[in-house]
């Protein structure tokens, strides 16, 4: 008899905890915010934040911009304007690259960013050679790319640092 109260209390607590965790899981499922750098899971066409911003109403855009200090707001508006002045093909190409970059895990995204930064520090002729290599790799299948990156021809053409740049940047190449 002495245990009945404790059993009832335990039952009430268990029910409460279950319903609470269920509600929390549902609210998480409904949440739309995604931490920066986390890979995307969507199967359909993905909008970049720039595209999402452009699909907002002018009032919503203004509301979002108003959260920034005036100088930062001005700078952002100029950057958006410059991006929108690029040829549509180049805009789309950059958006595709961006989406592929954001499909990668956070640490690989960082590795790609570092390699792009290292690329810009290389002599112009080496930059050109690396871009040429990536262009050639774009026509290969994933298996062929892997084989190419571990092949003697590739190793003979680039030093260790350049090889790393090509290997990292190849992760944002479009699928053949």
């Amino acid at each position: 008899m002495r245990w009945r109260g404790s059993i009832l209390a335990l039952s009430v607590l268990v029910c409460g905890v279950i319903s609470e965790s269920t509600a929390r899981a549902q609210s998480r499922r409904g949440a739309t915010s995604r931490p920066p750098g986390s890979p995307r899971q969507s199967k359909g066409p993905v909008q970049t934040p720039i595209e999402e911003f452009e699909t907002m109403s002018p009032a919503e855009q203004q509301k979002a911009l108003n959260r920034l200090p005036p100088a930062q707001r001005q700078k952002l508006q100029e950057r958006l304007q410059r991006f929108n002045q690029l040829p549509p093909e180049q805009q789309q190409a950059l958006k595709n690259l961006y989406n592929r970059l954001h499909q990668l895990p956070a640490e690989r995204q960082d590795a790609v960013r570092k390699s792009i930064n290292k690329l810009s520090q290389q002599p112009p002729e080496r930059q050109q050679a690396i871009r040429q290599e990536l262009r050639g790799m774009a026509n290969l299948s994933p298996d062929e790319r892997r084989a190419h990156l571990s092949g003697p021809e590739f190793r003979g053409k680039f030093n260790k640092k350049e090889q790393e740049i090509v290997r990292d940047m190849s992760e944002v190449l479009p699928p053949r």
Binding site: R4, E20, P45, L80, L94, S120
Partner: protein, 166 residues
């Protein structure tokens, strides 16, 4: 001896008629009977009852009477147990408020947790009122676009895939 009718008279007279008094009490009571007609009359009536009971012959009892009786008692107890509802058994007469205290405490904990969790509806509404897209995400996307543009690989590669399904 004081007259038993003034105190525990009935018990004393019944015990006398049944023959269960010790010898001292019995002798004292018999001495009293010699002088008390009323007690004498009651004692005679009691003895008549005892005599009549002695004349009754007991009914014959079957040899397995005890076993059958205990079996029947057990069956009736079992039947009564299942006929009572589960909740009736749960909250039967032994119920007291002491076991209810943990239940009440658990309910209080849940209610407090619920209230604490939902104490910020204004904040939630403010969050909902804000655009889903954070402007900082746009800034970071532009940083990435600039970086990818700097890489200089977008023209040659993206001719292949105008708009990708991710």
């Amino acid at each position: 001896m004081e007259c038993p009718k003034n105190g525990d008279g009935a018990e004393l007279i019944v015990a006398y008629a049944a023959g269960t008094l010790d010898s001292g009490d019995q002798a004292a009571f018999e001495r009293h009977l010699e002088s008390c007609a009323s007690c004498r009359q009651m004692a005679a009536a009691q003895q008549a009852v005892w005599s009549a009971l002695d004349e009754l012959s007991p009914l014959p009892v079957s040899s397995n009477f005890d076993a059958k009786l205990y079996q029947r008692i057990a069956e009736e107890q079992q039947s009564a147990f299942w006929q009572r509802g589960r909740w009736q058994r749960w909250f039967q007469a032994e119920w007291s408020w002491r076991p209810a205290m943990p239940v009440a405490a658990a309910c209080v904990v849940l209610i407090v947790a619920f209230l604490v969790k939902n104490s910020g509806p204004v904040i939630t509404q403010q969050e909902q009122a804000q655009p889903k897209l954070q402007i900082e995400q746009v800034e970071r996307a532009l940083d990435d676009m600039d970086m990818l543009k700097q890489a200089g690989i977008e023209f040659t590669l993206e001719k292949i895939t105008p708009r990708e399904q991710i």
